[in-house]
Symmetry: C2
Subunit: 295 residues, 2 copies
């Protein structure tokens, strides 16, 4: 069985993503936080890791962009899941009794309307969605309820009082699959390639860097900038480029040779994009509760 590291506890949305990406025949390695996950895969204690990188409402998970830069793992795939938050309680608790609701801060932030509609409830930040359900059931958290997936409720014996707490049903999280070794080469126009680029410190360098891709008609599906520690107001850029890896390689050769554009370019990986559902209306109820990208 493949060992797959996930952040957080069994029952987390990362667990759902691991099942969607690798199927049920996996041995899960829960990690207490993202740095531990990167360490676990780097040290070979797990063959793969599942890394949440972006939520369609909350945006990027910046800590993981930073960890991609500071570790030498390869991105070998991606998967998306619909995030459906449940209010989970101990079996005897009623909605009226709920005062303190524990969950991960990102999950809490995605349920702002629920909290606005229930002003007597307080959001209690916790380190993990599923972990707060487990702690709730073991009386190890000062809360009456937790927000997590229905998988977490089933795993730990909690009762789901209410489903779909999220403000917006178009709530998806995209996960990267990381490994010590790159994915097999796939000369396919539906590939996605992830890069980290440090730009030259001259006006127009970003435009110049993007030109290498634009001239080849390669689409940029994502650009993310992150600060460089110790160099205030300077940034590295993370690019996701869609298209034929052969064309992308040509663009990278050009980019590496152009010292007026980029200082350094690192290839994180080339892998199959979950492109089929891009630009589709994924709030569509047909998708509800079902992992996307791995039908």
């Amino acid at each position: 069985m493949t060992a797959v590291a996930i952040p957080g506890e069994l029952g987390s949305f990362s667990h759902t993503a691991a099942l969607a990406a690798h199927g049920p025949e996996i041995h899960l390695v829960p990690c207490v936080d993202f740095p531990e996950l990167f360490r676990t895969v780097t040290e070979g204690k797990a063959e793969h890791g599942v890394v949440p990188i972006e939520n369609s409402l909350a945006g990027s998970i910046h800590e993981n962009y930073d960890l991609l830069r500071t570790h030498s793992l390869c991105v070998v795939g991606e998967t998306e899941i619909r995030v459906r938050h449940c209010l989970i309680v101990r079996p005897a608790t009623t909605l009226e009794q709920v005062r303190r609701v524990a969950s991960h801060p990102v999950a809490l932030a995605q349920c702002r309307r629920f909290f606005a509609a229930h002003p007597t409830m307080t959001a209690v930040p916790a380190y993990d969605t599923a972990g707060s359900v487990r702690d709730l059931m073991n009386d190890r958290v000062a809360a009456d309820a937790a927000i997590a997936s229905d998988l977490a409720a089933r795993l730990y014996g909690g009762s789901v009082l209410q489903e779909g707490l999220e403000d917006d049903p178009a709530n998806f999280t995209r996960f990267l699959l990381v490994s010590r070794h790159p994915a097999p080469a796939r000369p396919d126009a539906t590939s996605k390639t992830s890069l980290v680029v440090s730009l030259a410190n001259v006006p127009g360098s970003l435009h110049r860097a993007l030109g290498s891709f634009a001239r080849r008609g390669l689409d940029l599906s994502k650009i993310e900038s992150r600060p460089i520690p110790g160099r205030p107001w300077e940034y590295v850029f993370y690019l996701d480029v869609l298209g034929d890896p052969v064309e992308i390689e040509a663009a990278l050769t050009e980019l590496r040779a152009d010292t007026g554009a980029a200082d350094s370019v690192r290839l994180l990986g080339t892998y199959a994009a979950t492109g089929t559902i891009r630009r589709a209306n994924r709030a569509d109820s047909a998708f509800a509760g079902r992992p996307l990208g791995d039908p």
Copy 2:
């Protein structure tokens, strides 16, 4: 006296930034969170607002980028301060007695090495740095210490046990100054102009949009992307462009006319950049403890 809204309590780093930007003759309006700050300025209950937008270590404060988009305030200035975290206790407490340390999650994240060196201490997330000092002094938080500015310690009567808790001394926060009315026009090449751009959904549109600025030699000091709620994996881009506003206006006219580049362009404001310290080594001790950009 000018009324200036700040997020969090008196003694916060935003308070320091308000003093740096507007001088001591101001009436401060503390706001419980960022949405309340935007409401307070929008409704005219304060003439200005001080909005933390970016930290040189933790990166952008994305909620405030979102609030700039969903409100119609103008950006009229910016200021930077050096963030120097202090461990603040009730006067009788010794370092050995400190078990639980309360502060804003961003401040806690900036002191990871301090917590690693003190494994018996637990970080307790709170809504505000200075607020956690005030709550500590009033026995209203389950903690023995708080992490905040020395201004907060002085205001609330706390004792500073240790200074410079931050992992990296090159720790600066940049604040935007917002108002209902734009700043007076200033035809000056050291101006900064902030924009929100929604790109056309075609390959290469970002490269094409940036071309309008690059061809005029205008430097991009910041690009930030944020998700569009309800449109998974589509983004708006926030651009900060340095240079003569007349040149920037010409670039915007070109950009608005090019439907292959941008769907919509909104000018947030043109204002004096704190450009003098860009690219300087601001970890330099000469700057320590002194607001930057407003000498």
